[in-house]
């Protein structure tokens, strides 16, 4: 089982405020890691460091063969990382001026240099995979939140990433649409996709994750299999967080 991502002693601050403190984690290929923790604990910042959307101040991140170091990243290296890593955002961030199909084909043509036909074929296959083929000609503003997020997942998948990052993918959705997005994510996990997921969906964490990480004030307080983390967390703060979030659902 080969390691795909390793984060080593990562440190990051915004001004004097530390956001991540000495964070280390490893994700082997084909595994699903779920990161949980309160708002403001640094979860999103952590995964945004992995594809270089955020810089960091100490430690290092290895993605595949590429090593990211503190400070401003070399553009070529960033592109190498982003070729291998897809990201799904809380607010979807679909391209508003392009219809569903072109949201997928544009990056295929511009980044991977695919021809129009080839890009279209791939887009159609992915739209079908996420159940969006009927909406290929619709613009993001014409789609529901759940449909937008499924499209965003298809767009990320089209680039054939080796790792997918999910930044609270269901937090901006109406409750009745959470299920359809989680279903797509569950299928992906079962197909062997390597995933790091920041979420408040504890059901997903319990059923799909290989490893659950609890981040508290920028520190990994505890991590382990879902069984251990949900049934027998050692840290009182983990227990408090879980009982709070589980009782509110």
């Amino acid at each position: 089982m080969s390691l795909f991502v390793s984060v080593n002693h990562l440190n990051k601050c915004f001004g004097p405020q530390p956001i991540l403190r000495d964070v280390s984690l490893e994700v082997p290929l084909g595994r699903v890691m779920v990161i949980i923790g309160q708002s403001g604990s640094g979860k999103s910042t952590l995964i945004r460091c992995i594809n270089g959307l955020e810089t960091f101040h100490g430690g290092s991140i290895r993605v595949g063969e590429v090593l990211l170091e503190p400070g401003r990243q070399d553009g070529r290296r960033l592109r190498q990382v982003r070729r291998q890593v897809g990201m799904v955002f809380q607010h979807f961030n679909l391209f508003g001026h392009l219809d569903a199909q072109h949201n997928i084909t544009m990056p295929l043509q511009r980044v991977l240099g695919l021809g129009r036909r080839e890009a279209e074929d791939r887009a159609v296959a992915l739209l079908e995979q996420v159940g969006m083929l009927d909406h290929a000609r619709q613009y993001p503003a014409q789609l529901s939140g759940g449909q937008q997020q499924r499209l965003a997942i298809a767009r990320a998948l089209a680039m054939e990433p080796r790792l997918l990052l999910f930044d609270e993918p269901t937090s901006a959705l109406d409750p009745e649409m959470v299920g359809e997005v989680l279903a797509v994510m569950r299928d992906l996990a079962h197909s062997g996709m390597t995933m790091i997921v920041v979420t408040h969906e504890m059901g997903f964490a319990r059923n799909v994750a290989d490893e659950v990480v609890f981040l508290d004030k920028g520190v990994i307080l505890e991590h382990g299999s879902p069984e251990v983390m949900f049934n027998a967390p050692r840290q009182p703060r983990t227990r408090a967080f879980l009982s709070r979030i589980l009782s509110s659902h």
Binding site: R79, R82, R83, F89, H91, F95, H97, D99, R110
Partner: protein
């Protein structure tokens, strides 16, 4: 009385209309140049201080001084300094372009920063370079938001060409002035000129609305 006015205006029309190609030509050339320069300035306004400072200076200068003074300076003032004349047409197109560019720069900058940062992040995360993100993600969306502002500026610039009568360009107003000098029909001729400007700007507004509707129908935003 009313019949006399109409007749006088009708009589002036052919002479005044000689100015129309100048008014339209200077407007179009000036706005074309102003758009190119404005886009460059607007983009510079998004950059680091090294880019932003000169763009800001330019915008403040051309927004903060009267167009009339700019035209007089360019046509009468600058030739004294550089030692050779600047043709009235060249000066006209230049002054309209440079003036419009200052306003267009702000329209461009405002539209670009109104596009959510999430669009940029999504583009980068997919592996697009920053230049590609600007070209294929931000610009197309920002451009739609620029259309009302650009339309406004186009109408302003079309009307601004009337000021160029002071540097002797035979546009609508200048033609009218010359005609009035021999016929003394100021009432009729200026009313006619006002209506001609109105016809141009109303036509332009209609074209603009049509374009916006078409873009809207094509989806999104």
């Amino acid at each position: 009385m009313a019949a006399d006015v109409l007749q006088a205006a009708w009589g002036a029309l052919p002479y005044v209309l000689h100015g129309l190609p100048y008014t339209l030509g200077i407007s179009m050339a000036g706005l074309g140049g102003g758009f190119l320069l404005g886009v460059l300035l607007g983009l510079a306004g998004l950059g680091t201080w090294l880019w932003r400072a000169p763009a800001l200076l330019y915008v403040e200068f051309f927004r903060g001084t009267p167009l009339l003074v700019q035209a007089l300076f360019l046509f009468y003032g600058l030739p004294q300094f550089i030692g050779r004349p600047i043709g009235p047409l060249t000066a006209s197109v230049l002054v309209i372009a440079m003036n419009a560019a200052a306003y267009i720069a702000e329209i461009v900058r405002g539209a670009m920063i109104s596009i959510s940062p999430g669009q940029r992040e999504a583009g980068l995360a997919l592996g697009l370079s920053l230049v590609q993100v600007y070209l294929w993600v931000i610009w197309p969306q920002a451009f739609r938001r620029m259309i009302p502002g650009l339309g406004n500026q186009a109408i302003t610039s079309i009307k601004d060409t009337s000021i160029l009568s002071v540097i002797g360009v035979g546009e609508l107003v200048r033609q009218g002035q010359v005609y009035i000098a021999t016929t003394f029909q100021a009432f009729e001729v200026y009313a006619l000129i006002a209506l001609l400007y109105l016809a141009i700007t109303l036509g332009f507004s209609a074209l603009l609305r049509h374009t916006e509707l078409r873009l809207q129908r094509r989806g999104g935003l």
